[in-house]
């Protein structure tokens, strides 16, 4: 559905996208994971034909977003990261407006948005600007779906949305995927990555890896420990000073410690920490999650540069 090869997009000073290549298959739920400022929105804008790029090759359903932008705009549903509907129009007015622009009717594709729409229907006469964050997202999704797009581009749809609404939102995406819509979604939340079929990790305009969440985790080949002690701050600085340690990041109340040597054990870590006078030390060997993998790939990239 989407084919991006060696894409480069520069703004005056910064290179927002640096040699990006990725592929999204038909009917896939594809996640673009990366911190703020990584280039997620820029990539979305290029794919949705809103932004011209400098180098590389981009194809959306076999169409070029530069020359064939009209065909692409007819076919995609794009939901920008910032709420972009008319705040002074009500839910119903916004929907009618977008259906009119796409020369369709609300009734025609109602089955597609029904599940979502029924949740916001009780407020259908309320201005969009007065809706809660979760309802705004649902409305925006409805508006992106009214013309039955083949490809749905969602730029950080869950940012600023409460935990319950986030889970609901991903449930909705799964149902849409079952209806054959290809979905590309970006998020800064690593925990949402495992909900996608395949993910691309992006950092500073570069793709660090494209794989299934499991596949990404498999690239993490080093021993990983969750470490806890009384003095959290000196714990993390001591671990970072240790030359056996590859990296140490805080992760909730734990420090996730990655070791250089494949044969490192929890015992080793404990004895090091005792030598540094830490009390109530707990060290557990754990398996990596997407965030650990992200940090690891980022570190590897920095080292190789």
């Amino acid at each position: 559905m989407i084919e991006v090869r060696n894409l480069v997009k520069r703004f005056a000073e910064v290179t927002a996208l640096n040699n990006v290549s990725l592929q999204v298959d038909d009917g896939e739920l594809f996640g673009l994971i990366g911190p703020d400022g990584a280039g997620k929105t820029t990539l979305f804008r290029v794919i949705s034909s809103l932004l011209l790029f400098d180098e590389g090759h981009v194809e959306v359903a076999g169409k070029n977003p530069v020359s064939d932008y009209a065909a692409i705009r007819q076919m995609i549903g794009y939901m920008p990261g910032k709420f972009s509907l008319y705040q002074d129009l009500s839910i119903l007015e916004n929907l009618r407006f977008f259906t009119a622009i796409f020369k369709t009717t609300l009734e025609e594709n109602y089955d597609l948005i029904k599940d979502i729409y029924v949740q916001i229907e009780p407020f259908k006469h309320r201005p969009a600007g007065k809706l809660s964050g979760g309802m705004k997202q649902k409305l925006a999704l409805c508006c992106a779906l009214v013309h039955k797009p083949r490809l749905l581009l969602l730029d950080e749809p869950t940012t600023g949305v409460d935990a319950v609404s986030r889970i609901e939102f991903w449930e909705i995406l799964k149902r849409l995927k079952q209806q054959g819509i290809t979905i590309m979604v970006s998020t800064p939340y690593m925990d949402e990555a495992s909900l996608c079929e395949r993910i691309a990790l992006i950092q500073q305009g570069q793709i660090m890896g494209v794989d299934s969440p499991e596949g990404i985790i498999k690239t993490f080949s080093k021993p990983l420990f969750a470490v806890k002690a009384d003095d959290f701050y000196s714990l993390i600085t001591d671990l970072r000073d240790w030359n056996e340690a590859l990296s140490a990041f805080s992760f909730g109340e734990y420090v996730h410690l990655t070791m250089r040597s494949e044969s490192s054990t929890a015992m080793q870590v404990e004895s090091y920490l005792f030598s540094r006078n830490h009390s109530s030390v707990s060290v557990k060997a754990i398996s990596a999650n997407v965030e650990d993998s992200f940090m690891y790939l980022m570190l590897k990239k920095e080292e190789s540069q």
Partner: protein, 340 residues
Amino acid sequence: MLQLLVLSYTATFEIKKTRIAIVDFDKSSSSRELVSLFEGSRFFTIPYYPSQMSEAEQLIDTRKVHQVLVIPEGFCRDMQVNHEVSLQLVTDAVDGSAGALRSAYAQGIIQDYSQEINTTISGRRVSGPIVATWSFWYNPELDYTTFMVPGILVLLVTIIGMFLAGMNVVKEKEMGTIEQINVTPINKIQFITGKLVPFWIIGHLELTLGLVLAWVVFDIPVLGSVGLIYLVASVYLVLVLGLGLIISTLSDTQQQSMFISWFFLVLFILMSGLFTPVEGMPAWAQTLNTVNPISYFIEVIRLVMLKGSGFVDIKSQLVSLSGYAVLVITIAVWRYRKTV
């Protein structure tokens, strides 16, 4: 800075070139002497010497001249037989302040001539001073409000139109809604039309309200055709809204748009001839005024409202405005980018 430089020159109340038509029924040496005084003055040019009153009236009606001086038959003879002689001076006073100035200039020349006669024909006492009976046409009381109301009406329509349009697209940019619109298959012309039509209607409503107020409160009815005003206004509004939309598509924030809009508005307004007569401005400023939409519409609305001019009289302004409007809208559509 630019405004200070340009506007200081244009904000002058002095009238340099008054076009006067002289109807000489006397054709005597005395009348010719008076005419030559007008010819010699740096304030006057005499493009026409009509032979009949009706011809002169037509000249002033069509704005070809600002003034008509009528020298009656027997002017020379009456003067010599000590009769009081009278001249008739008609001044177009649609622009009250300019009209008063022109009338004063002309009377000054006549006064000079009168005194000259008294001194040169010594021995024979010429008691009869030359009395110029003057009249102001179209705005008999030189009423400032009569003159200003149509102009201010134009101003309000312009400001509202330019700001509404100027703020609109840029607001969508700030809100981010433009991004959502841009990914839809809507095309540029549809978008610009959609932006234009509501404000165009608002502009007409405002004009209507203004015309009613002018009539009810200031007692200034439209002498000419109301339809003609609306015809010109409809073209004019497209032009002004188009300018606003261009500014809007070029700006990134509402402040930017506001600043640029004000820059042009202040320039346009002060050069438009609303407060000071355009004829008094230096030549380069008058040339600059050919791209000033406000000056066209102010001229038209004053002509139609106060003077009752018809279609033929304002045809050239209408043609200019139409061409201008087409150009501006084309640029607006072209400049609007469906990318971010």
